[in-house]
Symmetry: C2
Subunit: 249 residues, 2 copies
Amino acid sequence: MRNLLVTMRYDGTAYHGWQVQENAVTVQQTFQDALETIFGARLPVTGCSRTDAGVHAEMYCCNFRTESSISCDKLPLALNANLPDDIGVYACREVPPDFHARYSCASKRYRYLLHNSPYRNPFAVGRATVYRAPLDEAFLHAQAQSFLGTHDFASFAAAGGSVEDTVRTVQDARVHRDGDTVIFEVQADGFLYNMVRIMVGTLLGISEGKIEAGSIPQILRACDRGRAGITVPPQGLYLQKVFYTLDVE
Amino acid sequence: MRNLLVTMRYDGTAYHGWQVQENAVTVQQTFQDALETIFGARLPVTGCSRTDAGVHAEMYCCNFRTESSISCDKLPLALNANLPDDIGVYACREVPPDFHARYSCASKRYRYLLHNSPYRNPFAVGRATVYRAPLDEAFLHAQAQSFLGTHDFASFAAAGGSVEDTVRTVQDARVHRDGDTVIFEVQADGFLYNMVRIMVGTLLGISEGKIEAGSIPQILRACDRGRAGITVPPQGLYLQKVFYTLDVE
């Protein structure tokens, strides 16, 4: 039995996230449909994370087991021929038998795009969240440094998450600007449900004066979802990179 | 009578270009519909250029005359409220009575995006042309330098253009790479019908060995459309910037 790791991008606009659900189209189901066309069987597929409806991925990893001898060079093109335009596979490699796309993951990096302008950009529709009031990216970057390190992130987790342990280690957090786009990037060993979107909502709350500047350490210590900011919409969120101890393309 | 210059971006995927046509949805018609909602009258609008079906604009200028006293600060937001998501107005200014979006234009800059990878990128679908074989951007950049200067571009004009004078001056031409995207940029005092798309087709023909390297000067001198390369598809083409002698945002 070979264990294959497949890497893809997707525009999540049309999907109810990664994970198979009843009565909703998901990326996992669409991917399994394409695999079934190629392999003639419904193969179980393990994804690197759940993503919410409307969230995008610049790099999403999943693995599945097969006895097929199809070459790793050919599988991405075969999959793309059977996938819709909003999902694109770009790599495949054989991994050790115990590799698990989710549990073997060492860290993940997300980014959140804010289209920071009073005016609509048609190229950003569905791919960034519109925020009209001017943002000071240097100020927000300084605020975001309080996320760094190992903390209990319970204040930054939506109700409905199933995780008991809410301690995570944030390895990098930064805010920068590219023209009209303000970008929040965060890397951690793991993320709680809606964690990135609440982090961004908290930074926007600080920008608006609704949350005190410099108070992220207190919000973390409070372990109280009510102290953090709103959950910003999904369309600005991208799973940017998934890190494994093995070197994955 | 005020003469107002409006600047917008649009994703051209859903449109049969700028100019009003029978039995086809165009950007001009959609824009005039929005103006009519605001001003209560069908106003004639002059665009800075025709663009073909599926071509995009990062900056498109048009002007129209009105007796309304609406402020230039408010008009973009009022227009956006009445335009679909794929058109976004971002500036308005009052210009002299004789300003004409097309005839007052000093030069235009286009760019053409090639998604240069064997693998689909869902974020580039409809916004770049897929070109799977590897491209050498430095080699293509060197080839493209032959476009610079004043030439008769008849070899680079589609049949069906109505222009008699096919001499144009190219002020800048360059090819560079950003990750998987190879970008051709060209600026000129004017462009013939399909000129940018035939320039790119010719560069790709050279890359493929179908057209001799270094032969662009001869193709120009031949004034023969048959000597140049194919017309590449519209979805990679963007009107990038429009230059007037007055300073337009």
